[in-house]
Amino acid sequence: MIELFLAFFFLIAAAGNGSFILSRLGFVFPFWIEELSFSLAVGLAVLMLLVLALGLAHLLYLYAVVLLIVIWGGIGFKQVLLMMFRLKAWAMKSLKISHFKSLYFWLVLLFILGTGLNLLRAMAPPHGATDPLAYQLALPKIFLEKHFFSFEPTVTGTLYPSNINLLFLVGIALRNGILAQIFHWALGMLSLLAIVGFSQRFFTLRVGIWGATFFSFMPVVVIGSPLGYVDLGLCFFQFMAFWGLINWFEKPERKNLVLAAVLTGVAMGTKHQGIASLMVGGPFILTIWILVWRLGVWEGMKNAGVFLAIALIPVVPWYMRSYWVSGNPFWPLMSGFWGGEFSYGPITAKDGTSSLAGVVGIALPSLEWFRIYWDSMSPWNWTFSPQGWQKAIGVYFVALLPGVFLFARERKHYFLLGFCVVYLLILVKFLHMNPRYGLVLFAFAGILSGLVAEGLASSRTWTVSLLFRFGILATIFLNLVWGHFLSKSVAGVALGAESRDSFLQVSEPIYRVMKFANEKLPSTSRILFQGIVKGFYCDHPYIWDHPYQKVIEYARLKTPEELRAHLRTLGISHIIRMIRVPQGRLNLGYPQYFLDEFHEEFRKEYLQLVYRDEYFVLFQIKDGV
């Protein structure tokens, strides 16, 4: 529960800090939800950039992080008080007892209930999903231990732009991985706030409430938001960047363009997939300037150039770090083009994106390409037969979006529809056809669906309105039932009825062997993971043994003696091995270690069993260093 309070105060501090900066720069917003959304985005962006500076300066010490947060939060303290007075005034004015009879009041209450169930899962110790335990939470922990952004050559994501991981780093520094998970969940909540605020500004508040409801119940959001992923952070900053651009279109002042550009840069620094914001933002500015306002090509290019230059500022430190280490600023993308010592990558696309020619080629799809990949990219399949939870978008978009053709009656409706179509193509062509990487599309598609929902719910034919409202409430009830099932196994640990240690011993298979290693092995131990990548719970230095790393290349090692000598040079003293490597990992190129002749020969000669459970073994290397 302490984590919950910390996260709450942290968000208040972010809002205060952002509000302070925006008010000093002369920004005035017509609605308080809009002001709050931009304040939170700016406040969090400032914190991430400050932590980035700390990491680059080798100052990632607890005292430095705490000092930074005190100064960062203190700057906006006065603004927080002002915002609280305004919030109170708004609540006194707007919240009336008659609202309890409103469908929209209940919609808000129900989606808050749904996100509350997600929060319950965020309050359980990190477990289950691979990516957070392998690098999104594991790398910040390593950075804190080493006090800078070290390069971990075997760990996926070690050179990715990682702004959200910096928030996780703060969470882990102040408390633990649970606080980091709550930060990710909170970024999902901020996305909902932004959806409501954007709709209030450009459509209606009711449309926003519908949109937030649909977005909040997407299965990918329900499952992903309480975990230590970064995608809801990406969604929030991309959404705010696009909103900033539309504000600039509404009121073409330079400061609006600068704000949009900074938020675009922060989104790009969140994850490589954030580059899509630039892919949309740059052409948007050119189109508006040249074709809509007809103010000349040169001026349009100049404004797009300013946007690009400012957007690069927040992300350039990440690119420079990556270039410095690997020779490729976008590692592991385009490795074929950039080359370099670590010119490989676990997610190098199989369809040719690793070279510049490939990137150009992939932008021009053929009909054959669409035929082959249709199952992977069709929203129908993402709804009814998604390949994994990351692609599960839920029912609302396929059900409601066809109604756009009936209810879209204004130019801005068609503009939003056009944006969604363009971003869907980007998602399909450049973002691995994975909705998790393009959640911002669904945030805007939620608003579009909200338009349709509002049209049906406020139909003048009362039977249409009633049946629709009944149908929607039934779906929300079913979603809540599912949410209940997802969260009931963690309720005990989340609410303090079960200890975190005993929960993890049952719920996270790798926890027991890591706990043993942390408690029993000498502090000088260095561990090789075989068949495993989840290092979050390991307190000793470690490296992965996955097929893409170049630190241990078994093909170059002819004998067990050579492997022994190589491990000695790496300082490896112990090995934690998965007893039975699953088929999925074998397909990636992992060996089945206990059936592999070379590894068996090495084991018999050099490995001594120290620990075993039903999933993992821990070996000490004989005569270990």
Partner: protein
Amino acid sequence: MQEKEAAQENSGELGGKPKSFYLAGEILILCWVLGIFYFFYRRQGYFELVEEIFSGIF
């Protein structure tokens, strides 16, 4: 603007199209929406979850 809309309503038109066009459209969309909802939640096994909860209660 309001006068224009009121005049359109009285003439049985909305946005240049007859009101019956929108009514038919709304009914069509409603049928699609409810059908998709039912198909989705049945196929994804949500009804079994509800049954499980209620069988536990009763």
